[in-house]
Amino acid sequence: GGLGLGREATHAEVAAWDIDIRPDGLGLPEGSGSVSDGEQVFSEQCAMCHGDFGEGVDRWPVLAGGQGTLTHDRPVKTIGSYWPYLSTVYDYIRRAMPFGYAQSLSNDDVYAITAYLLYMNDVVTDDEFVLSNENFAEVRMPNEANFFDDPRPDTPIFVKAEPCMTDCKAEAVITKRAVILDVTPDGEDDSGITVD
């Protein structure tokens, strides 16, 4: 350091905040949890929002299913159908769930819930499966290969020539109208196509 500002962090401090996990397992705590333990915690602390089978209650996120829908008109992106790495499941649940009471789960409980989510998503089929820091790296997610790095520019939008300014087309005709959907908030009860 050049300015001498700040201070060295203690080991306990780094341990308290350094809770992130990477796909290569860096950051995984010691511990383990079974599908059945996970089912129990999930039904107690998660199912009221995400549904008993991860199907999502009301508009709360869907966590399971959707395999094979990514090319559909209405793809269902879940842990099983979309997420490339298992570490993300552990990391996210530990840091952010249950919604409203973050970082309240034990490490073992998070292993158990993660195991249960793998089971609900048919990534593991053995209902006696136990997930631990030992076997964590062996689990691969089915959609991992379908992610690729940003390929932009991917539209013909990088021009050296000036774009057309006059008589660029014969005419313009309206093809779609927002008023047909009528989902703009105006005090009435509306619902539209959500994005997330």
């Binding site: 700040g6 929002c49 793809p75 993300t88 990391d91 379908n146 050296k160 774009p163 908030p185 997330d196």
Partner: protein, 406 residues
């Protein structure tokens, strides 16, 4: 058409009645009686007549208002600065309230000294002032399949443009000392979402800031008070609020916000990841569905905003006939790197229906694409990075609607 008679039409007709707002002093009490004293508003607020100029949310978008979004009322704004009270909000666990004395920043991982900084420590680093737009990658995301929302507040309002003061992230990283293998940084928030994003080290050393001030004053709570990350030109989700930790590593983390979210699903089932830059984009803010033309034919001002995550906006073109003919608009106010630009174009409206569009070109040479050009390569399922040209259809009464055209 129900257009009210313009004042010109009236003047041309019979002798005009005197306006009591001029001739009758009783109708102008503010001219006779004292107004508010200087101790009435130690921190001022907008006029009661501007109560409609607020952030608005769309209730059906999310399950819960604590992990949700509201929108900047772009159609009511002018210039390039978004007032702090109107900067759109997106949080994943509600807006945290942290007393500045309780805030800590940890830098750990591949550094020489794993460090803790207080806010007072951060304020001792050299600070810089920069103006940048923050656009949510999902801005205009509801419009991929077609025209859906009637108002640029909803179609384009997940953006704000703010003059930040803060400390270059580079200086804080250098203070901890970078190890040789360092290549990525994880930024983590102190909120209940524990928001995390992986950012390439090069970007962190280039132009990222740990911001403490916005538009002259301290950050607002909902914008990450007391400190947030500023990642110029890159998607808003990366601008971690209530920043608590910076970890330096050799690989990206692939956390939830860069896998489940903020990856862009294409029609063939594959998905783009690490799509950070916000492409060149623009929208006409007036006239627009929430800001119709109310004055009838004659002199009319088209105003709008344009921005690019790849530099400055070089040109904005405007069409009133749905893209048959385009005119170069005037860029008004400062043209700054990775900042919103204001454009204006005046024309004499003959009262016939209009198809309004704007098209921006950035200093990197990119041209804002049409919706169809974008869909041809991205399909309609990618949610994020919709920077397509927006069309407003204005009818002969001046009402504007969100439409798509051939």
């Amino acid at each position: 058409g129900g257009v009210a008679l313009g004042s010109a039409a009236l003047a041309a007709g019979a002798a005009r009645a005197d306006d009591p707002l001029i001739t009758d002093l009783d109708a102008q009490p503010w001219t006779q009686f004292l107004g508010d004293p200087v101790d009435a508003m130690p921190y001022g607020m907008p006029s009661e007549h501007e109560a409609h100029v607020v952030r608005r949310t769309v209730s059906w978008l999310t399950a819960d208002a604590t992990s949700s979004i509201n929108f900047t009322p772009l159609h009511e704004l002018e210039g390039i600065i978004t007032p702090n009270g109107l900067c759109f909000e997106r949080h994943h666990g509600g807006a945290a309230h942290i007393a500045p004395g309780d805030w800590r920043l940890m830098v750990n991982g591949l550094v020489g000294r794993q460090s803790v900084f207080t806010l007072a420590d951060i304020m001792r680093f050299p600070r810089v002032t920069r103006t940048h737009f923050l656009e949510c990658a999902a801005n205009s995301g509801m419009e991929w399949r077609g025209a859906q929302l009637n108002g640029c507040q909803y179609t384009h309002g997940m953006i704000h443009n703010v003059m930040y003061t803060g400390v270059p992230l580079r200086l804080v990283l250098e203070e901890a000392g970078l190890k040789g293998a360092a290549a990525w940084v994880l930024a983590e928030g102190a909120d209940a979402a524990g928001m995390t994003r992986s950012i390439p080290l090069d970007k962190c050393l280039d132009d990222c800031l740990i911001a403490t001030h916005m538009n002259g004053e301290r950050l607002r709570p909902e914008q990450g008070y007391p400190a947030r990350l500023v990642v110029p030109g890159w998607e808003g989700n990366m601008w971690v609020k209530w920043l608590r930790r910076i970890e330096v590593g050799d690989h990206p983390w692939h956390h939830r916000e860069e896998t489940s979210k903020y990856t862009d699903l294409l029609a063939d089932g594959t998905a783009r990841r690490f799509t950070w830059e916000m492409d060149v984009k623009s929208v006409i803010t007036s006239p627009s569905p929430q800001a119709p033309i109310t004055h009838g034919r004659g002199p009319t001002v088209i105003s709008g905003v344009a921005w690019s995550g790849r530099g400055r906006v070089a040109e904005v073109h405007v069409t009133t006939d749905g893209g048959v003919n385009w005119t170069k608009a005037r860029i008004e106010g400062p043209s700054l790197d990775k900042s919103m630009h204001r454009f204006n174009h005046e024309f004499d409206w003959d009262g016939a229906p209009l198809l309004l569009q704007s098209r921006a070109i950035d200093t990197a040479g990119y041209v804002q694409p049409t919706k169809d050009a974008l869909r041809a390569v991205r399909g309609v399922n990618s949610i994020y990075h919709n920077n397509a040209i927006q069309t407003w259809a204005v009818d002969s009464d001046g009402r504007a609607e969100n439409v798509e055209i051939s």
